[in-house]
Symmetry: C2
């Protein structure tokens, strides 16, 4: 089976899991469940859940044990997109080729649906962690997710990103944005997966390096695609960074240098993972995919 | 010491705890920490944290063990107020006599500051629950908070509340709103406190009844104060329910009947608590305070 086929199958598996863990659309509060599920079902690459499961497996764990974490990280990712798309933030009408949440459900419901998905992510992780043998391990794993999605992670990155529009920023600040806005929750979900999988300190360190490097590379490629990408494939407008006078890797370092850095981060990531196991096909493939992707 | 003095001292104690647990305002993402802390510091009665500590103590636990939960529930309450005040929701300019978060920091920052406070609440609970003796108890307690603040709790109530403006609704639906929008997180934080305090099933049941009854009564009194309250004392406009054609206890059942129900809920709450301990002064006083309050 080639890598693209394997990745597609993993994504389908995640789709099935999401359907199982999504809230049922019922009760007086039915509309918000519909709004949550509308965005959860909108597709996407499902990279974060796939990475969560792989991180657990690559250190010798059982992926069944981290399913709730895989689902939860996609809920957190999805809530961040819903809020990002709001008129007060990026004001986007389209996401993955479909109308954004607030365009369908209205702004107040989109705000609450985002809140609800963040909260629900914790509900899913917690309710599936109770009464297990090693409770402290589960607490540590949920804590990794929480840290990575908050002000010292994703939200921290988003805030500085919002404040950096129309301003020339330093490479240090740009790295802060990339590391926190994008890499942090990849680090968080992979560390959570590895912790539940029983990783030792050394394994956890290599997982963290891999996650950080593919996360940074992912964001640099995002910046590159905003210049050279195909709108049809991306499902969104290109050129918005230039339009918003945003500092990016290409704007600060040029397109060629950016591609070079993105490539070398991927090589480093693969080196880390090679230290962990001999069965690294999917994680290797994912690293290569991140640099080769067109959307 | 009289009750009002005791309550004031507890609130001051909570203020000190909040200061200790609030994020430091530093780093590139400093603005969001300022925005979070602006609303956290805005005062208020701090009833939820006080109730968290009392629920732990009344079942024989040590209040030190639930400090992180007390702080977290106030963060969750505060985030819900920040998002509630947004232009897309209640569009309020004033909260506790001060400009609302989005009036000071702008809408995008207020959305993110709300998100950040919800996330941070979990960070605080989780990071303070790791490596304790009975990890599963802590998982259960955090799970109580998570359930109570999500779509089967506070957010569920908010959604139905938002959808019920300008519509005549049934008493059943109104009770759903009150139970979820207001009572749920009081139930959640008190159950969390009691679980950490080592409550048995029976104690947990009485705590839950107390919390539910004071929560419902609190919201009925809120409805009543929106008609008969003093704007200066409340720190907000009165008459907004009538203006928004909202169904409330007074509008459905009349003012006198509403007061009667609020009173009887408080009596029931006090009965529950009397079964738990002989030292119920503060919880009794709080129940009475809820019905007697003017703001």
């Amino acid at each position: 089976m080639d890598f693209k086929q394997a990745l597609k199958e993993r994504a389908n598996y995640i789709e099935d899991l999401l359907k199982k863990y999504m809230p049922k659309e019922e009760g007086y509060q039915k509309t918000i469940m519909e709004a949550m599920n509308y965005s959860l079902e909108a597709g996407g690459k499902r990279l974060r859940p796939i990475l969560t499961l792989e991180a657990c497996k690559v250190v010798g764990g059982n992926e069944e044990d981290v399913i709730a974490f895989a689902v939860a990280i996609e809920m957190i990712h999805t809530y961040s997109l819903i809020h990002d798309d709001l008129p007060a933030l990026d004001n986007d009408d389209l996401r993955r080729g479909r109308p954004t949440n607030h365009k369908v459900y209205g702004e107040s419901m989109a705000i609450l649906a985002g809140d609800a998905l963040l909260n629900y992510a914790f509900e899913v992780m917690l309710s599936n962690s109770i009464n297990k043998e090693d409770s402290n391990k589960y607490l540590c794993a949920i804590n990794e997710i929480a840290k990575s999605s908050g002000i010292y992670g994703m939200i921290g990155g988003q805030v500085v990103d919002v404040q950096s529009e129309n301003v020339q920023i330093s490479k240090d600040k740009l790295d802060f944005i990339h590391l926190n806005k994008t890499a942090a929750i990849i680090i968080g979900c992979m560390r959570a997966g590895a912790i539940i999988g029983g990783a030792n300190d050394e394994q956890l360190e290599e997982i963290t390096k891999y996650a950080k490097n593919i996360g940074l590379s992912f964001q640099i490629v995002d910046d590159i695609l905003d210049i050279v990408g195909d709108e049809a494939k991306l499902g969104k407008k290109v050129g918005s960074d230039i339009e918003n006078h945003k500092s990016t890797y290409p704007s600060l370092l040029g397109l060629d240098k950016s591609k070079e850095i993105a490539r070398s981060l991927i090589d480093e990531a693969k080196l880390s993972i090679s230290k962990l196991s001999e069965e690294t096909e999917l994680l290797d493939g994912l690293a290569d995919y991140i640099i080769a992707r067109e959307y």
